[in-house]
């Protein structure tokens, strides 16, 4: 049972790493909190459902298409809101209000467009038989989802640490002001980061019906909150930390489900509190300012 819970936790956690990473990237680069992140994930889930039911697309195909689409949408949307928000006295916090409004709109449109009912995709689309892993049987969708998340995380890692644009992105994350002074086109880099954030949300969203039993317009809020917990657990602004945060979240959740199910939801939050109190900057944080 222990091995099963741990492995399931890692697979499940990788999904949350993917969801959290998008949020973290947007916060790190834009210094804005995307409170609508979970709603974008939800849209990804509906994309997977509709593409599968109407067009017969395999979810992995949908994933690539949706991610590309959301990347473009994010890139184009950025100049419409970000400069205006940045002009306010406290952009980091006023962005909360802005994205709260965006979240409400997305959710309302999803209700109008897709209805309130739970939608799920016939799970055996990834193979009917459970997959054997470490001597235990796991649903094929979980294993595929874990693998795909890992690949997506790797791609983001390569982008951030092995490409010129990624290097510039990290420079903006480290200090927006210095990046501006040194002549980087902060606006374009930020727009791209926002696009990538949404793309990651969409990618995670496509996987969500398989891990969360389905998708409905109401799942966004919970996803945003969990993504936040995962991000902070690992440390804001550090992409690698988010991966660790997701894994810790997934494993602790599954351990609780196995051994103390009544308290399942408590542990991740307690864990987050303890981590923050002991290591305030998150597990992989480099230390934040404190007075």
């Amino acid at each position: 049972m222990l091995v099963y819970a741990l492995t399931a936790g890692v697979l499940f956690g990788l999904f949350y790493s993917l969801v959290g990473l998008g949020l973290n990237l947007v916060f790190g680069v834009l210094r804005m909190v995307n409170l609508a992140h979970g709603q974008f994930v939800m849209l990804g889930g509906f994309a997977a459902y509709l593409a599968y039911v109407r067009l017969g697309w395999h979810p992995l195909v949908t994933m690539v298409v949706a991610a590309a689409l959301f990347l473009g949408i994010g890139y184009l949307l950025y100049p419409l809101f970000a400069p205006r928000l940045a002009a306010s006295t406290d952009p980091e916090m006023i962005s909360l209000v802005f994205f709260f409004g965006v979240a409400e709109m997305i959710q309302a449109l999803a209700v109008i467009g897709f209805g309130n009912n739970q939608r799920s995709i016939y799970a055996p689309v990834f193979g009917a038989a459970p997959v054997r892993l470490l001597g235990e049987r796991f649903p094929a969708a979980w294993v595929v989802s874990g693998g795909v998340s890992l690949l997506a995380l790797l791609a983001v890692y390569l982008y951030l640490y092995r490409s010129r644009l990624g290097y510039a992105t990290r420079a903006v994350m480290a200090s927006r002001e210095e990046a501006l002074v040194s002549g980087l086109s902060v606006g374009r880099i930020s727009a791209l980061a926002f696009g990538i954030g949404l793309a990651l949300a969409a990618a995670g969203g496509v996987l969500s019906p398989f891990l969360l039993g389905g998708v409905n317009p109401g799942v966004g809020v919970g996803l945003t909150m969990t993504a936040f917990a995962v991000v902070v657990l690992g440390s804001l602004g550090n992409p690698l930390g988010t991966v660790l945060g997701g894994l810790i979240y997934g494993v602790s959740l599954m351990l609780m489900q196995s051994y103390l199910s009544e308290w399942t939801n408590l542990l991740p939050y307690l864990l987050l509190l303890v981590v923050l109190l002991v290591r305030p900057s998150g597990l992989l944080g480099r230390g934040v300012r404190h007075a």
């Binding site: 099963y4 739970q118 196995s258």
Partner: protein, 419 residues
């Protein structure tokens, strides 16, 4: 088709909040019922247009709307107090599944719209806040599916549960079935909310009284959506019967996870296939539901011998013709609430709330609708309807509901263990 229910002053009154002081202008225009026959009977209700309860709330609201259209097509509901037919008008607000918003809106219906009859939104959470308000304003609350035991108390005469028994009573026949079958290893997985936990508590205590101690009996938070590890943990206790008590989305997630887990149990029971079969089937497929058990409710239980309102087959036909949507239990429950209201108007000597409640007590036990026998106890809780145990058996024509317990309503034998 949607009821027209926009009253201009409401907007004016709300807008006044903006300027706070400007409110004075917006009031004083509401129409209170006079001693003469009113031009219409207003039925106030809430629905959840979005959020956690929308899936269940909207069909229920549709059922009530359908009832109003049926009645109005005949010139209105017969109101004994005025000895004539009067048209029915539904006033409805959207509470978006929030109990706090619902509190404001219930108060709005009573104090501003001064509705003649008050109908609760779906389920215990959204009904709970209406209970004290209705009582305070001495207004009878027609509660469709709010089955929390705490709503029904000896000194509250302002509530009538029209459809289901309180949730703690639901598993009586399920426990009976398990004991009858001699199933010794039972696993119970429930959500820790009033609705599911009260069922789990009753089930476990009935089983224990029959000498069976569940091998697995655990609660999980209502937000649970990932059941894979839980199924694995349950399987470790080697149960013959797995009882999962959830809300619709949890049941879907559970059955999905079960289908892809590679686990097999001799008996699997969930709550909502019996109420929302087409939704569940759409999500987990006929294969995912094959041989599972549930509490069958109308339309899966066919009550065609009715003495009030449409029979099930008439209702199904008329409802589909008009709305082009399928019938599920909640549309029937909404329609049934309308029937109870209709009968109340038909027999109450005045539209005073105390007379309305007295009228309900008067016909309790005497009407039999497509939802079964309507009978309430002195506290207003439903005791006429029962929830048997049924099994979904795959046939060439799709899934067939076979009622397997108790003996007097049985339509076939259970297939146990499930293949």
């Amino acid at each position: 088709m949607r009821m027209r229910r926009l009253i201009g002053w409401r907007m004016a009154a709300g807008a006044a909040l903006l300027g706070m002081g400007a409110l004075v202008a917006g009031c004083g225009t509401s129409a209170a019922p006079t001693a003469k026959a009113p031009t219409q009977i207003t039925v106030g209700t809430l629905y959840a247009g979005s959020g956690a309860f929308a899936t269940s709330s909207l069909p229920e609201y549709q059922g009530l709307q359908f009832w109003a259209q049926q009645v109005n097509a005949k010139g209105g509901a017969f109101v004994k107090a005025y000895n004539k037919r009067i048209k029915v008008k539904i006033v409805a607000y959207n509470d978006q599944s929030s109990a706090t918003t619902a509190t404001t809106l219930y108060t709005q219906l009573i104090t501003q719209n001064k509705v003649n009859l008050l109908v609760a939104d779906f389920g215990s959470v959204l009904t709970s806040v209406a209970v004290p308000i209705a009582r305070e304003h001495k207004t009878v609350l027609f509660d469709i599916t709010g089955t929390g035991a705490s709503f029904f108390t000896p000194n509250n005469k302002y509530i009538v549960l029209t459809s289901l028994p309180t949730s703690g009573v639901w598993p009586e026949s399920l426990a009976g079935f398990l004991l009858h079958k001699g199933i010794k290893r039972v696993a119970i997985l429930y959500l820790t909310n009033d609705f599911d936990q009260s069922q789990a508590t009753t089930l476990a205590s009935r089983l224990k009284a029959g000498g069976v101690t569940p091998v697995y009996d655990h609660g999980v938070p209502t937000s649970t959506s990932s059941y894979n590890v839980l199924i694995h943990a349950m399987a470790q206790s080697k149960p013959d019967a797995v009882i999962e008590l959830g809300y619709p989305n949890n049941d879907i997630a559970f059955l999905q996870a079960l289908a892809s887990s590679g686990q097999h149990f001799n008996m699997v029971f969930t709550v909502f296939p019996g109420q929302l079969l087409s939704l569940l089937q759409k999500n987990v497929g006929a294969k995912g539901l094959a041989y599972t058990y549930t509490y069958p409710t109308p339309p899966l239980l066919a009550y065609n011998k009715v003495n009030y309102g449409l029979s099930l087959s008439q209702f199904t036909k008329a409802f589909q013709a008009q709305t082009h949507t399928g019938v599920n239990f909640l549309t029937i429950a909404g329609y049934n609430a309308g029937l109870v209201i209709q009968k109340t108007l038909d027999t109450a000597k005045s539209l005073r709330q105390s007379d309305l409640r007295q009228a309900v007590a008067g016909f309790s036990g005497k009407i039999f609708t497509l939802d079964g026998r309507f009978r309430i106890n002195s506290e207003g809780a439903q005791v006429g309807e029962t929830l048997p145990v049924g099994q979904l058996v795959p046939t060439t024509k799709g899934l067939q509901m076979v009622v397997v317990y108790p003996a007097k309503v049985k339509t076939g034998s259970s297939v146990y263990p499930a293949p």
